[in-house]
C-alpha cells in the first residue's frame, strides 16, 4: 500500500494511473482526497506486486514532477478503512432484523424507503466483505464504496517516513 502526496493539479490522477498501466503495474484500489495543506492531495493506492516491483513503482512515481512524496506503508503499522454504502431490500417485516445486524457491524442506516434501506459501513476489507455476506440474504440492490485510506499508527506521519 502506497501513500502518495501530489500537487492538486489537473491531470495528476491521469499521470499517476497512466504510469501504473504503461509499466504494467496493477492497481487494486485507489482513493484520492484532500490533505491539511491546500493544493496537496493524498492518493492511497493498493497494488499487488513483489517487493522489488513495489520499489520500482515508488521510484517511478517519485519521478513524476507533480508527486511530492511516496511512502510505502506495506510494512508499517497502520490503520486502514474503506467506506461502503449498501442499498438493501427491506420489507417492513425484516427491517428490525437488518437494523440488528447493522448495529453488530457498527453500521448506520442513513436512508429508508418503503422497501429499501441504505446502510453506511466502514472498516477494513474483511469486515466489509463479512457485512456484504450478511446482507445478501435480504437482497443487495446496489453498493458504492470508496477506496481504502490509511494512516500510520502512533504520532509518526507519512510525510516524515524516509523515502
Amino acid at each position: 500500500m502506497l501513500a502518495i502526496l501530489v500537487e492538486d493539479r489537473p491531470g495528476v490522477l491521469t499521470r499517476v494511473s497512466g504510469l501504473f498501466s504503461r509499466r504494467g503495474y496493477n492497481i487494486q484500489n485507489i482513493a484520492v482526497g484532500r490533505t491539511m495543506e491546500p493544493g496537496i492531495s493524498r492518493m492511497t493506492v493498493t497494488v499487488e506486486a513483489d517487493p522489488l516491483t513495489v520499489e520500482q513503482i515508488v521510484k517511478q512515481l517519485n519521478k513524476l514532477v507533480n508527486v511530492l512524496k511516496v511512502s510505502d506503508m506495506t510494512d508499517e503499522p497502520s490503520v486502514g478503512r474503506e467506506l461502503m454504502l449498501v442499498k438493501v431490500k427491506a420489507e417492513p417485516g425484516r427491517r428490525s432484523e437488518i437494523q440488528q445486524m447493522a448495529a453488530t457491524f457498527r453500521a448506520k442506516i442513513i436512508d429508508l424507503s418503503p422497501d429499501s434501506m441504505i446502510i453506511e459501513v466502514t472498516g477494513d476489507e474483511q469486515k466489509l466483505h463479512a457485512f456484504l455476506m450478511m446482507m445478501q440474504e435480504f437482497g443487495i440492490k446496489e453498493i458504492a464504496s470508496t477506496g481504502k485510506i490509511s494512516l500510520l499508527r502512533g504520532s509518526k506521519i507519512t510525510r516524515d517516513m524516509k523515502a
Binding site: 500537487e7 489537473p10 491531470g11 491521469t14 499521470r15 497512466g18 504510469l19 504503461r22 522489488l52 520499489e55 520500482q56 521510484k59 517511478q60 517519485n62 519521478k63 513524476l64 514532477v65 507533480n66 508527486v67 511530492l68
Partner: protein, 563 residues
C-alpha cells in the same frame, strides 16, 4: 511589463539563450509565428514536424543545450510524437511548444484539436497545458529547467491560440521553486567510499559507460578513471565517444552487436562499474546470464534506473561527473596493481587483438558497407559529427566510425527511430556550422524523412548524406535470414527512387558509388562540394552485421564472434 503570450514565449527564448528554433507553422500558432517574424529569431522551417523534432534533438545532442521545436495544434502536434519519444528514450533535453485551439474550444472536438498533453504524457519528462496567461512566464522557466536538469528529457508546453494574443504581466523568473522536483547530484559519500574499496579489491574490473557520461560531460573523468587504475572500458551506442575509440583500453560496444572483447569482458568481470548506463536488453542479452561473476556498481542520476533490470551491489545516485570526480580522489594509480589487474587487462587486450571486428572487401567485387564507413572515417579524419538512422548501417557506423570525442556519434538508441539521422544532422549542423556533419543513412530510413532535403537546400545546410543502400530493410532481412527461415517478408525495398536524381530534384548534389575503387573519390568529391550532398552507396544486399547475439541469449553466444 505587459506582454502577450506570444511575446512572452519569445522573451523566454531570448532569456534562455536559444539561438535557433525548428518548427512548422499552422492555424493555432499564427500569433506566435507573427512574433517570431517580428523578433527575427533564427527559425528553420522543416518540411514535416517530425523533421523539426528530430532536428531540435540533433541540435541538443550535438551542443548539449536544449533543442526547441514549435508546431501547431492537432496534426502538427501529433507529428512531433515520434520525435519527442525518441528524445525521451535517450534522455535528450527538448522543449516542444505546440499551439492549441482557443481555451473556449478545448474539449469540443474543434478543428485541429488534439489532446497533446494527454498523448505525450508517457513520452515527456513533464508537460503543461496553459489555461491562464499568468501561469505562462513561470511555466516557460520551469520547462527549460526540467528539460535540462537531472535526467534530461523532453518537455512540452501546449499554448492555446487565444492566450498567445492575450496580455499579461511578464517578468521572467530568475529561478524555479519546485518542492516536488529535486534531482540528486552529489553521490552519497559512504557509497562512493564502498565503490572505491570494491575497485581496489577487484581483480577483473570493467567500466560499462552509457549516455549518461555524454549527458553529464563526464568523459574526461571516465578516461582518467580507466587510466589511473587500469580498467578497460566498453561504451554503449549512446555512450560512444565517452572515451576515444582509439584508446588502448577501449573494447568497443557491448551487447547484441558488440565486440568479442567487450562481451567476454562482461562475462568474466568480477566488478562491473556501470556509469550512466541502464542495462538495456540490447546490451545485456539474457539477464540471467549477464555478468554472472560480477559485483555491480551502478552510478546514475535517476534512482529508478538502479535495480530496474539487474541487482546492484553498490548503487550511487548522482551526476556521474561529480561522482567520478569523488571516486577519483579515493583511488591511487597503484590501486590498479594490487590484485594483478594488469593480468586481466592483458587478457582483455588479447581478446581485442585476436578477435577484431572484421569484413572482407575484395577489390573489384561487390561493395561492402563496412568499407564505406571506414573510408568515411579515414577521409573525414575521424573528426566529423556523424548521425545515423536505425538498422544495419547504424551498427556498422557504431563499429567502424571510431569517434574520438563525445557528442560526435548521434543516433537514436532507445527508441530506434528510422528517419532520425537526416533531420538530426540538420540540427547538429545548425549547432556547429563550421564542422563537418555526415549522416550515415539506410535506404529505408532515409526515405522516412527525405523531404528534409528541401530544408537542407533552402538554408544551405551542408550535411553530407551517405546512404548505405542495400535495397532492403537490412536489419529486418538479417533477422528474417537468421530466425525466420530466410523468408524475406516485405523487407525488400526494390523500386526505391534513384537517390541521385532525388537529391538533384531538390537542388542538392548527388553521387552514386557501386564499386569499392570509386568510394574514396566520391567521398572526397562530396566533402568538397558545397551545400547538401547525397551519396548513394550501392552495397552488398546480403551483408550481415556481425557479431550478433540472438535475442534473449547470453552475450557470449556470438554468431561470428570468433575467428
Amino acid at each position: 511589463m505587459r506582454l502577450t503570450g506570444a511575446q512572452m514565449v519569445l522573451a523566454c527564448l531570448e532569456a534562455e539563450g536559444v539561438d535557433v528554433i525548428f518548427g512548422f507553422p499552422g492555424g493555432a500558432v499564427l500569433t506566435l509565428y507573427d512574433e517570431i517574424f517580428k523578433k527575427g529569431i533564427r527559425h528553420i522551417l522543416t518540411r514535416h514536424e517530425q523533421g523539426a523534432a528530430h532536428a531540435a534533438d540533433g541540435y541538443a545532442r550535438a551542443s548539449g543545450k536544449p533543442g526547441v521545436v514549435i508546431a501547431t495544434s492537432g496534426p502538427g502536434a501529433t507529428n512531433l510524437v515520434t520525435g519527442i519519444a525518441t528524445a525521451y528514450m535517450d534522455s535528450i533535453p527538448l522543449v516542444a511548444i505546440t499551439g492549441q485551439v482557443a481555451t473556449s474550444f478545448i474539449g469540443t472536438d474543434a478543428f485541429q484539436e488534439a489532446d497533446i498533453t494527454g498523448i505525450t504524457m508517457p513520452i515527456t519528462k513533464h508537460n503543461y497545458l496553459i489555461k491562464d496567461i499568468n501561469e505562462l512566464p513561470y511555466v516557460l522557466k520551469e520547462a527549460f529547467y526540467v528539460a535540462s536538469t537531472g535526467r534530461k528529457g523532453p518537455v512540452l508546453i501546449d499554448l492555446p491560440k487565444d492566450l498567445q494574443a492575450q496580455e499579461g504581466d511578464f517578468a521572467y523568473p530568475a529561478q524555479v521553486e519546485m518542492s516536488t522536483y529535486r534531482p540528486t547530484y552529489e553521490g552519497h559519500t559512504g557509497q562512493i567510499a564502498r565503490a572505491a574499496n570494491a575497485i581496489k579489491k577487484a581483480q577483473r574490473p570493467l567500466l560499462y559507460a552509457g549516455g549518461g557520461v555524454i549527458s553529464s560531460g563526464a568523459h574526461e573523468e571516465l578516461l582518467e578513471l580507466s587510466r589511473k587504475v587500469s580498467i578497460p572500458v566498453t561504451t554503449t551506442l549512446t555512450g560512444m565517444g565517452g572515451v576515444p575509440c582509439d584508446y588502448d583500453y577501449f573494447l568497443g560496444m557491448p551487447g547484441m552487436h558488440g565486440t568479442y572483447a567487450a562481451n567476454n569482458a562482461i562475462n568474466e568481470s568480477d566488478l562491473l562499474i556501470a556509469v550512466g548506463a541502464r542495462f538495456d536488453d540490447r546490451v545485456t542479452g539474457k539477464l540471467e546470464t549477464f555478468a554472472p561473476q560480477a559485483q555491480i556498481i551502478h552510478i546514475d542520476i535517476d534512482p529508478a534506473e538502479i535495480g530496474k533490470n539487474v541487482v546492484t551491489h553498490i548503487p550511487i545516485v548522482g551526476d556521474v561527473k561529480l561522482v567520478l570526480k569523488e571516486l577519483l580522489k579515493r583511488l591511487q594509480p597503484a590501486d590498479g596493481d594490487i590484485h594483478n589487474t594488469r593480468e586481466w587487462c592483458q587478457k582483455v587486450l588479447e581478446w581485442k587483438a585476436s578477435n577484431p571486428l572484421r569484413y572482407r572487401q575484395e577489390p573489384g567485387s561487390c561493395l561492402k558497407p563496412q568499407y564505406v564507413i571506414e573510408e568515411l572515417y579515414r577521409l573525414t579524419g575521424g573528426e566529423a559529427i556523424v548521425t545515423t538512422d536505425v538498422g544495419q548501417h547504424q551498427m556498422w557506423a557504431a563499429q567502424y566510425y571510431r569517434v574520438k570525442r563525445p557528442r560526435a556519434l548521434i543516433s537514436s538508441g532507445g527508441l530506434g527511430t528510422m528517419g532520425f539521422g537526416f533531420p538530426a544532422a540538420i540540427g547538429a549542423q545548425m549547432a556547429f556550422p563550421e564542422k563537418q556533419v555526415v549522416c550515415i543513412a539506410g535506404d529505408g530510413s532515409f526515405q522516412m524523412n527525405s523531404q528534409e532535403l528541401a530544408t537542407a537546400v533552402c538554408y544551405n545546410i551542408p550535411v553530407k548524406v551517405a546512404i548505405i543502400n542495400n535495397q532492403y530493410l537490412g536489419m529486418v532481412r538479417q533477422w528474417q535470414k537468421f530466425f525466420y527461415g530466410g523468408r524475406y517478408a516485405h523487407s525488400s525495398l526494390a523500386g526505391s527512387p534513384d537517390f541521385v536524381s532525388l537529391a538533384e530534384a531538390y537542388g542538392a548534389s548527388g553521387f552514386r558509388v557501386t564499386r569499392p575503387e570509386e568510394v574514396a573519390a566520391a567521398i572526397e568529391a562530396a566533402l568538397n562540394t558545397p551545400g547538401p550532398v547525397v551519396i548513394d552507396f550501392q552495397v552488398d544486399p546480403e551483408e550481415n552485421v556481425l557479431p550478433m547475439v540472438a535475442p534473449n541469449t547470453s552475450i557470449v553466444e556470438m554468431i561470428g564472434g570468433e575467428e
